[in-house]
Symmetry: C2
DNA sequence: CGCCTGATTGACGCGGTTCAACCTCAGTGG
DNA sequence: CCACTGAGGTTGAACCGCGTCAATCAGGCG
């Protein structure tokens, strides 16, 4: 576990107004005066890739937003079988108001910067500030939709479709972040290891690796290094994913 | 589709104060004066088993709570593969505030009574009544946890464990509804057909049927009729489900 | 260089799907 | 009263996609 720093070197200023996730995070609907209160309550903390932010079942006293990086939510069975049940990106909220412990491990997939609050003070603020609650409801409903989308993938898609679906999501994300059109030649980092990917898709490492190789050999994707992926023809990838439109 | 009735014959009175889901539904945190407003806004509607309450992608103008019965949320792929992504029981909320269309079909698994609101008036009320929003947030977070639990089942459990896990949920529900201890000899209705069950568990009908037969032959469950299940030894069933505790 | 971790590839077997036959039961009508 | 029908469920046999086990490879680091 990394030694926590008060201010991540990658965050320019510690004022909420300058925050890169100001308009997407749980605080996005807040007015200036409410933001000032959050500004007082918050603190930053950094984690290195691989660090565990929250252990399943352990009580946690903090809640917060991902400012930078990517973290995974994972459930593990007694015999070691693992299933990733979510991926958190910048602006996503971490921890559940009204509950002490998380039912899953939260692990930094990359280096992560967190904007965190004490549970108690955040919950008090939440009770007094409908904007926070409304935004949190919006975000939770979106996560629920995403989880259900993933249930279709886990329950019904083939290994090949699972891999393609994951790449489609990353390609769309790449297009969004870089203001390109989805369909444009995408190039992005795969973010997570083969092992994590297997845990995300409900597959083994070997099947994951084989299907990626197959897509590469058929020219549907190109690999540079282990992690960088290029998608020359987005629609072709989309067809492999089993999705319409 | 059944002809809608203004008042279901099974609901004793149409006043919210007498409602069977008064203390669990989205309205549970409301005060008397807020309840009076909801009382004006709501209307009841009945559906028969098999009716489609909401078609995926179609705009819907209503939101509401399940008062009686059980409905399923299902996603379908172009080639016909289907995955159930949720089951709604009495007090569960139906429809998403802030979004016109549902990404999945909602189908009555049994006869269903719905307490429904016009989207617009409900959203207005939601904006003015933090209690509603807070309760909705709680319920959505619970659903998210349930969905993630299900992701573990879909991604990592064997067919046998999937069946056992489903029966564990029903047995617990039976114990809760009838104020027994989980662990007591449970007896309950399976609610859904083999086909729906297969769609829920990410299996085929045949595998579902085979695994149920296997559990029966080993004495872990007893079947009376096609749908009624008895569980003589809950812990034994629990062990088959792959869960701990 | 040797070591270690993560990824790839191959051979093989099993769990679950597929295809198909048959069974059960409730509803219908002669 | 019973034959007919159709939907839902069960059972069997063959196949195959993915998991398992194992060997090998590629790259980073002391």
């Amino acid at each position: 576990m990394t030694v926590p720093t008060l201010l991540s070197p990658d965050v320019r200023s510690d004022r909420c107004g300058d925050c890169p996730i100001r308009y997407r995070a749980v605080c996005s609907h807040c007015e200036a005066d409410q933001l000032a209160i959050l500004d007082q309550m918050k603190s930053y903390r950094s984690y290195s890739a691989g660090d565990t932010l929250i252990w399943a079942g352990e009580p946690v006293s903090k809640l917060g937003s991902i400012v930078k990086g990517c973290a995974s939510l994972t459930r593990t069975m007694e015999d070691g079988r693992r299933q990733m049940v979510g991926l958190l990106f910048p602006s996503d909220f971490l921890g559940r108001p009204g509950r002490e412990a998380s039912p899953y491990d939260v692990i930094a997939a990359t280096d992560v910067t967190l904007c965190q609050f004490e549970r108690e003070s955040f919950e008090t603020f939440l009770g007094a500030t409908p904007q926070i609650g409304n935004r949190l409801l919006e975000m939770t409903l979106d996560e629920l939709d995403a989880a259900r989308e993933w249930m279709l993938l886990l329950g019904r898609k083939t290994a090949r479709e699972k891999i393609a679906s994951f790449l489609v999501i990353l390609a769309r994300r790449d297009a969004l972040l870089n203001k390109k059109f989805p369909g444009d030649h995408a190039k992005f980092d795969m973010i997570i290891s083969r092992e994590s990917l297997a845990d995300y898709l409900g597959l083994t490492i070997e099947t994951t690796s084989r299907q990626i190789s197959a897509l590469k050999n058929e020219g549907i994707i190109r690999l540079t290094g282990k992690r960088m992926v290029e998608v020359p023809d987005f629609d072709r990838l989309l067809r492999e994913s089993g999705e319409d439109a």
